[in-house]
Amino acid sequence: DVKVTQSSRYLVKRTGEKVFLECVQDMDHENMFWYRQDPGLGLRLIYFSYDVKMKEKGDIPEGYSVSREKKERFSLILESASTNQTSMYLCASSFAGFNTEAFFGQGTRLTVV
């Protein structure tokens, strides 16, 4: 079974803190993604990566950065957390190419106070 593991289920951080969300997949997938999920809105893509050290902006990259130093790990960084970044964050991975099945982690619920 494909496993996408996010390091934390719940996080509470203070405004202005630098926050790291970690994601690891064990299926040797080339593609990795970070989404946020908010009530009343569909999943929105923050960043994605199709190879090690490669990254592309998604639809809402402002206030975020990412790091992919190893194939299995994709980190989302909130440079200076703000209350409007309170959300559920979901990591996903898939094989190379477009239109390939994405496997999601269980999500990290981040609250910024």
């Binding site: 009530p39 893509l45 996903a92 477009f98 994405a102 999601f104 999500g107």
Partner: protein, 113 residues
Amino acid sequence: GESVGLHLPTLSVQEGDNSIINCAYSNSASDYFIWYKQESGKGPQFIIDIRSNMDKRQGQRVTVLLNKTVKHLSLQIAATQPGDSAVYFCAENQGSGTYKYIFGTGTRLKVLA
């Protein structure tokens, strides 16, 4: 458990009956569509996909129908079971050759015993 959305449309179905969940998509250029299931406290799980050169695809107990004329997608679940209770949402790619998707907000399916 986690709530993936407040005030989601809800479909209540008797156990054993068939369920039909609908989705209107927005982009005429979309050529790939996916249905996801998200149970409380979990990440989305791929159910079935369909490409725009098809109008129907069947899986195990699930069927997806695509009507490109009216930009409508539906998910049919046969013989609905308690384990089918979840939020279901559709996703469309933003045209071919892209990693970006537009996700629907979802429909909550409640299976009544």
